[in-house]
């Protein structure tokens, strides 16, 4: 084989399996959650309501990308990347405008009428149902591939087996990393970024300082809408475009935002990765990893065929459990976000 030292001692097949199906899978879904959670936490921190339509906004963004891909199918070939990804910025822009429009029509009048925050949450559930209905009305309910043809696969040899990463997955990871960097600079260096932090911290004082609520609100929707579109598109590119896919991501995304602390975008990213990893590792079949150790274990301890903490059908329990745990032990989240009642 050729490997020396510690690498030879590790059971490489199983370890690569763990990397592929455990770590990488967790990173991938965690990145999707992270991108979604940033928008949710900003909306919750600045506009002070839980944005229930967020999952469907992700689906809408993916559909915009799908339509664009149908109109400009060769765009990707020009650059050498998947077409939906190349056209994704346009889909992000469209979704951002869409988000601003929805706010203008549905939420702003309620804010002006000074209703209790919970009423706006209710209205957002109404918006969620409208979006769900429209999306399934025009798009149907079955799954679609974002792009015809197969995806590029990258293989990184590692100890005799390959670590497998598809091109969409690689793009997702790189995009999320870029978002992290961009967010950092935006929030700490730019005038608007700091104004957003100020508004999330103390909305009245922000107003008193002359910060325009309208501008901040609009920027919030731009960020939330475009990142939701990116999350939805990249997820659909990796798996397939199915309306239910994004709704199923809603609870994990909420959990991620709450874990990270409301109003804290980096907390949301950390939360998203946490939820993604926990989810994936909880349903991971640890038997595979432990099997090489079988000879070292006592006779009566027999490894079952499948040893997972949680059966795959109950995957949804994990983000819920994380959510409940945070609400019980540390409602302000890891990064101590706001706890406005």
């Amino acid at each position: 084989m050729g490997e020396t030292g510690i690498l030879a001692a590790l059971p490489m097949n199983e370890f690569v399996f763990f990397i592929n199906k455990g770590l990488l899978a967790g990173l991938i879904i965690g990145s999707v959650y992270a991108l979604g959670a940033v928008g949710v936490t900003l909306i919750a921190g600045i506009l002070r309501f839980s944005h229930f339509p967020h999952g469907d906004m992700m689906t809408a963004g993916a559909f915009f990308a799908l339509i664009l891909t149908a109109i400009f199918p060769t765009a990707g070939a020009l650059i050498g990347l998947p077409t939906p990804f190349v056209l994704m910025p346009i889909a992000m822009a469209i979704t951002a405008l869409f988000a601003i429009g929805i706010d203008r029509v549905f939420y702003k009048p309620l804010r002006t009428a000074n209703v209790k925050p919970i009423v706006i949450v209710m209205a957002s559930i109404g918006v969620m149902l409208m979006m769900q209905g429209l999306i399934r009305l025009f798009g149907g309910t079955e799954a679609r591939q974002m792009e015809a043809g197969s995806k590029d696969i990258y293989k990184i040899p590692f100890g005799g087996r390959d670590i497998i990463l598809t091109e969409p997955q690689l793009l997702l990871i790189l995009f999320t990393a870029a978002v992290v960097v961009a967010l950092h600079f935006f929030l700490t260096r730019s005038r608007m970024g700091k104004a957003m932090r100020a508004m999330a911290d103390n909305a009245d004082l922000a107003r008193i300082s002359g910060i325009s609520t309208d501008h901040v609100v609009r920027t919030t929707w731009v960020i939330a809408g475009s990142l939701a579109a990116a999350a939805g598109t990249l997820l659909a590119l990796d798996v397939s475009l199915k309306p239910d896919l994004s709704f199923n991501a809603l609870l994990p995304i909420f959990a991620a935002a709450i874990v990270g602390g409301i109003g804290k975008p980096f907390g949301a990213i950390a939360g998203g990765l946490l939820v993604g990893f926990t989810e994936t590792l909880a349903v991971f079949n640890w038997s595979v990893l432990l099997r090489p150790l079988q000879p070292f274990m006592p006779e009566w301890l027999e490894l079952p065929q499948k040893l997972a903490f949680v059966p795959t059908e109950y995957k949804i329990v994990i983000p819920f459990f994380i959510l409940i745990a945070v609400l019980i032990w540390r409602p302000t989240g890891i990064f101590k976000g706001s706890l406005v009642k």
Binding site: S50, V119, V121, G133, T141, F309, L327, I328, K341
Partner: protein, 422 residues
């Protein structure tokens, strides 16, 4: 300005007209069935209006509470499954239960070790480890039990008790689940309760769908026993009518009790808490405790209504629970009817349910004709799943109604009567 009285009368007569139309058009058997279902929804809506209208609680997991109550009711009232009781199933389940009880007790003890002097961060770690061990022990004991039960007896069956007892215990179970949700989320942002209840309802549904040994899963349990003679014995109209008598009685009973409660000093206190929480809290009222009571009471009524609804359908099918039909539809009933107004909620439920039932054939009709027309005019080919898509239009309309009502008529059709003091 339309007076309250006029509004109420208008609503009642409007509903009556609709009902009469349905009877005339579709016949008595269908009409009574629709009324029974509507009455069950009215009960559920009553429970929800208590939570929202009086305590400001945002319960988005109504589906889960309905499913819980329906399940418990099924478990209690379904005939006994001899195959199960004759097998090793009960013993194995007993063992699982034992592990569960011991494990939970140990975990609780672990969480209290700080009293013995253990530093706080170790306490969390110890509790987590003990909790995880409990979980693993219970699940690994449960798996073989479940497989055995499914292989030998299909599922555990029921306890063969009277149906009304099933409904009662179902309501209590739903109330208990509501208590847990309330304990965790009250005192935090109101939307946390929404998120938590949404989550728990999905989990309850997933559990009931997958625990074949308990519910037969997708194979469904039927026929569910009724509290009144079944259609085979009395004919459709008569048996359904007697079912309606039961549910209508329940509605009247709860309505009277609730109206009385609101008129009492306790009701005034609840209103005070809702209308001005800060000063109520300053006066020493334990705001969250009261709201927790509302959460439990509301879910109890939701549970009874839910058990009645599912029992009427005679099938317990976990996959049939849908957030749209079992949560959001009821929210429309509450918002439209007038949150916090019991009469308005009941009427709203009837009204909305009738329109909802009629909307299915109406949507299909519309889309079908629209597609034919478009085909003739533009040569447009309808997609194969047009029927399914047509029904999605209803989802859109429900959402639209919610946003429109919140925006333009947040008090609903029958706003709460404001009691004036001289």
């Amino acid at each position: 300005m339309i007076t309250y009285r006029t509004r109420a009368l208008l609503m009642i007569s409007g509903t009556a007209v609709l009902v009469a139309l349905v009877f005339a058009w579709l016949g008595a058997a269908y009409g009574v069935r629709m009324l029974v279902e509507a009455s069950c929804f009215a009960l559920i809506a009553l429970g929800l209006t208590i939570q929202w209208g009086y305590a400001g609680l945002f319960n988005v997991g109504v589906m889960g509470f309905i499913a819980t109550a329906a399940f418990v009711s099924m478990l209690v009232s379904y005939p006994v499954n001899g195959l199960f009781w004759n097998s090793a199933g009960p013993a194995m389940l007993g063992r699982v239960g034992l592990y569960l009880v011991i494990g939970v007790a140990l975990t609780f003890a672990a969480s209290q070790t700080h009293l013995l002097g253990l530093p706080k961060k170790y306490r969390t770690l110890v509790t987590l480890i003990v909790g995880a061990a409990t979980y693993l022990a219970v699940t690994s004991a449960l798996d073989p039990a479940a497989s055995l039960i499914e292989a030998e007896a299909r599922f555990v069956g029921g306890f063969g008790m009277p149906v009304w007892l099933g409904w009662l215990l179902g309501g209590i179970a739903a109330g208990g689940l509501g208590w847990a949700m309330g304990r965790i989320t009250l005192g935090l942002r109101a939307d946390y309760m929404a998120i938590a209840t949404l989550g728990i309802s999905e989990i309850v549904k997933a559990f009931l769908k997958n625990a074949d040994w308990l519910t037969k899963g997708t194979l469904t349990v039927s026929p569910l026993p009724w509290p009144v003679p079944t259609p085979t014995e009395l004919g459709f109209v008569m048996s359904r009518a007697s079912y309606l008598a039961v549910t209508a009685t329940l509605i009247v009973v709860f309505y009277v009790l609730l109206e009385r409660a609101w008129a009492s000093p306790w009701g005034r206190m609840m209103r005070a808490i809702r209308d001005n929480e800060l000063s109520a809290a300053a006066m020493g009222k334990d705001v969250n405790r009261r709201r927790l009571e509302m959460m439990v009471l509301g879910n109890f009524i939701i549970g009874i209504g839910g058990a009645a609804l599912v029992t009427f359908s005679t099938i317990f099918d976990p996959a049939s629970f849908q957030p749209l039909n079992h949560t959001f539809l009821i929210w429309v009933m509450v918002i439209l009817g007038g949150a916090g107004n019991n009469l308005g909620t009941i009427l709203g439920a009837l009204l909305v349910y009738i329109v909802w039932i009629m909307s299915e054939p109406a949507a299909l009709f519309l889309f079908d004709h629209g597609a034919t027309l478009a085909n003739q005019l533009f040569g447009w080919e309808a997609p194969a799943d047009l029927a399914t898509r047509a029904l999605q239009m209803r989802v859109f309309v429900i959402g639209l109604v919610i946003t429109l009502v919140l925006r333009f008529a947040p008090q609903g059709l029958l706003p709460e009567k404001v009691v004036k003091y001289e």
